[in-house]
Structure formats: structure tokens, C-alpha cells
């Protein structure tokens, strides 16, 4: 399992009703096949606020990952890959 505390940037994110549908990571396009879970974090406001939606999902390319959508910066990051 790979984990990036600060997140690993993904590009060209496509969403529908706020849910990720497709993204590019490490130069490869990954299409979301199923979203297993969605949750929201809002914490550490007294330091540097972390306000993110998290998506645990699988892709048609065989990945099981956790994507994070930063609600403050609108940035999408990949924070975990189960391998």
C-alpha cells in the first residue's frame, strides 16, 4: 500500500454530481468503475484547516485508491493506493 500524507496530484479530473468519473495519474487515464465509500473530513482549523471529501474507489485499470477533493482549494489528490 502506498500512502502520501500531502497527496499525489492527479490531472484532468472529470466529475458528475461531485463524484469522480475519470482522472489522469502518472500519465495514464483511469476511469472509475465503482465508488466504495465517500466521507468528509473537517479538522485542524486551529492550525491549517483540512476540509476534504474522500473517495475510496476502484478503476477499470485495476486500481483501488483513495482520492481526496480539497474543498478549500478545489484540488484533487490521490492519497492512497492499495497494491
Amino acid at each position: 500500500m502506498s500512502y502520501w500524507r500531502e497527496g499525489n496530484p492527479v490531472k484532468d479530473i472529470e466529475t458528475e454530481n461531485g463524484l469522480p468519473q475519470r482522472f489522469t495519474w502518472q500519465g495514464r487515464v483511469h476511469t472509475v468503475s465503482a465508488i466504495a465509500n465517500v466521507w468528509r473530513i473537517d479538522d485542524a482549523w486551529w492550525q491549517q484547516r483540512v476540509w476534504q471529501d474522500r473517495f475510496k474507489l476502484t478503476t477499470t485499470t485495476g486500481l483501488l485508491v483513495i482520492l481526496s477533493h480539497d474543498l478549500l482549494s478545489d484540488e484533487w489528490l490521490l492519497i492512497r493506493v492499495y497494491d
Binding site: N37, V38, W39, R40, D42, D43, W46
Partner: protein, 317 residues
């Protein structure tokens, strides 16, 4: 148009937990067009007068209740349907307060079935006995507990409570709770376990929890709520969250209709005082006072005694 009424709402009278005063909650409800709002503070009803006054000012129908803490450390959401229900809730809270150190409340579960008339019960937050049993994967205990509450409150007065705060386990828990409701033919209802009127009061709620627990923000992660979703949400927001279970939102209106209790405040509703031969209480008090005059004022001049007898000013107050 979708309508929703929040039935599980804490004010700052849930000490060191609720972050918004009753007035702010009612004002926010009015801004969103919510026709009614319930106040369900932890083991207490001390916020109800301010809540009722604000509700009158903003044109929101007030519903009254509390979140009870039971002796198995489980929570149970209670709403008042009638005058009898109000008396029963007050009795339960008194028993619970007497049964615990100052500032705390613990209601013996064995007491509860004697005081359910006029009350409506919702199965509670994640600290409710039913969600706790479900989260522990104890299906039999879940069923037994739900049946027990159903028997105590009645099939039409006990609701499985669904909450979805965008936490990792919430979707699965809601799904299981709905399964439970369907299996026992019980209705279910959505609530948001509100702890502040707007999202921006979430930091204050965190600080209150830390004060209550005596810990710093850095050391309080397990005690604080993981996000800021515990605010008063609109009908549209709740309908979106519970899109798969529209009855859960609709049933909030049904429950509000069942809550017919109106709080009378300003004039005290004094208990009936038993008097000999059922004589009028005021006349009895006057006769007691007059007969005691000679005892209390043995050396008073007769004109003073006479004056008091003929003009009992204090008794007219």
C-alpha cells in the same frame, strides 16, 4: 416542494456540547422556511422557555424533547406529544439527575417503561443502543432492543432514527437501520443531530467539547466530531442526503404533527393543595393566618390586629 423538520437539535443548554443558543437555531430554521423545530438537549429542558419565546417571535412551531442518557450509557431521543408526555419527560429527567453526580444524568432503563405515555422515541445517534449494537455487528441484540422500545412506546410512537454526517461508516449504518425497520415493520426518520445553527460554529463546538473534557484541541481528536456536518440543514440538503430514503424526510412532518404539546409559560400551573372539607384554598389560608395572629403578635395593640384582620394586604398579592 420538499419539507423537512429537524427533530434532533441541541442548543447551548446541552452544556459543553451544543454551540448555538436556542434563538440562533430558531432564527436559522425560520430563514430556511422550516415550519417547526424540536429542541432535544442532553438530559435537560432548561432551554425550552427561551426556545419557545424565540419560536413565537420567528413564527416557527416549537417541539419539545430531550436526549436521554440511559444506564447502559445509550442515548435515546425523546419528543413530547402531549401534556402527559411533558410530565413524564420531566419526571424521567428528575429521576435521571437524582441518579447521578451533579451535572450528569443516568436514567435506569427499568424506569423508562412506566413513563412512556405521551412520548415519542427515536432510536438515537450512534450512541443509541440500536446503532451501537449494529456497529458491533450484534444483529440479535439490535432486534431485541428495537422490539423492546417498540413494546414500550408503541408501534406508532417509536421510530428508527437515520443520521448521515458523511462519515465513513454512515452509509452502511443507515442501510442496516432501514433493513431493521423493514424487518420489524417500524417507520424510520431522518435527523441531523444538530449541534450548531451554521457550519461556521463548528470550531466553537470543538472548543466546548475540549473544555468539557479538560483536554487541548491537539489531544482531543477522538472526542471531537470528525467534520462540520452537524449544522441545521435545509429540506433540500436533507432530501439530497437521504435521496434513497424519501420517507425518512417525509416522516419528520408526520412526527411533528403528532407533537401536540404546547408549553405554557409566564403563569405558573400550581398544584392543587388539599384543604379540610374541600374549602377554597385562599379562604383556608386566610383563616390559618388570622387564627395565628394572636400567637405571632401576642402583645400587639388590638387596633393593629384588627387592621390586619380587616385589610389582609399580603393575602391579596
Amino acid at each position: 416542494m420538499t419539507e423537512y423538520i429537524e427533530l434532533h437539535c441541541h442548543s447551548n443548554f446541552s452544556l459543553c456540547d451544543g454551540a448555538s443558543p436556542p434563538e440562533d437555531l430558531v432564527k436559522r430554521a425560520a430563514e430556511m422556511g422550516m415550519p417547526a423545530l424540536a429542541l432535544t438537549d442532553h438530559d435537560a429542558v432548561y432551554g425550552v422557555v427561551r426556545f419557545a419565546q424565540a419560536a413565537k417571535q420567528y413564527g416557527v412551531r416549537p417541539l419539545f424533547g430531550a436526549e436521554l442518557t440511559l444506564d447502559d450509557n445509550a442515548h435515546l431521543t425523546i419528543l413530547v406529544a402531549s401534556d402527559t408526555g411533558w410530565r413524564n419527560l420531566c419526571a424521567l429527567l428528575s429521576i435521571a439527575r437524582h441518579n447521578a453526580p451533579k451535572g450528569q444524568a443516568v436514567l435506569p432503563l427499568s424506569i423508562l417503561p412506566d413513563y412512556t405515555e405521551g412520548l415519542i422515541a427515536l432510536s438515537g445517534c450512534k450512541q443509541g443502543a440500536i446503532p451501537k449494537a449494529l456497529l458491533a455487528n450484534d444483529w440479535q441484540k439490535t432486534i431485541d432492543t428495537a422490539q423492546q422500545y417498540r413494546d414500550w412506546f408503541g408501534r406508532d410512537r417509536f421510530f428508527i432514527e437515520l443520521q448521515q454526517h458523511r462519515l465513513p461508516e454512515d452509509d452502511r449504518l443507515v442501510y442496516k437501520l432501514v433493513q431493521l425497520a423493514q424487518r420489524l415493520d417500524l417507520p424510520y426518520v431522518a435527523t441531523n443531530n444538530v449541534h450548531y445553527a451554521k457550519r461556521d460554529a463548528s470550531p466553537l463546538q470543538d472548543v466546548l467539547v475540549c473544555i468539557g473534557k479538560g483536554v487541548t484541541l491537539d489531544n482531543s481528536r477522538a472526542m471531537r466530531r470528525p467534520n462540520s456536518e452537524y449544522f441545521l440543514k435545509s429540506a433540500r440538503e436533507m432530501a439530497t442526503v437521504f435521496a434513497a430514503y424519501p420517507d425518512a424526510v417525509r416522516n419528520t412532518l408526520h412526527i411533528a404533527d403528532l407533537c401536540a404539546f404546547e408549553l405554557a409559560y409566564g403563569i405558573q400551573d400550581l398544584p392543587v393543595f388539599p384543604t379540610p372539607n374541600d374549602v377554597n384554598a385562599e379562604a383556608y389560608l386566610t383563616s390559618l393566618c388570622q387564627s395565628a395572629l394572636a400567637l405571632r403578635l401576642p402583645n400587639a395593640p388590638s387596633r393593629v390586629v384588627s387592621g390586619i384582620r380587616t385589610r389582609p394586604r399580603e393575602l391579596e398579592i
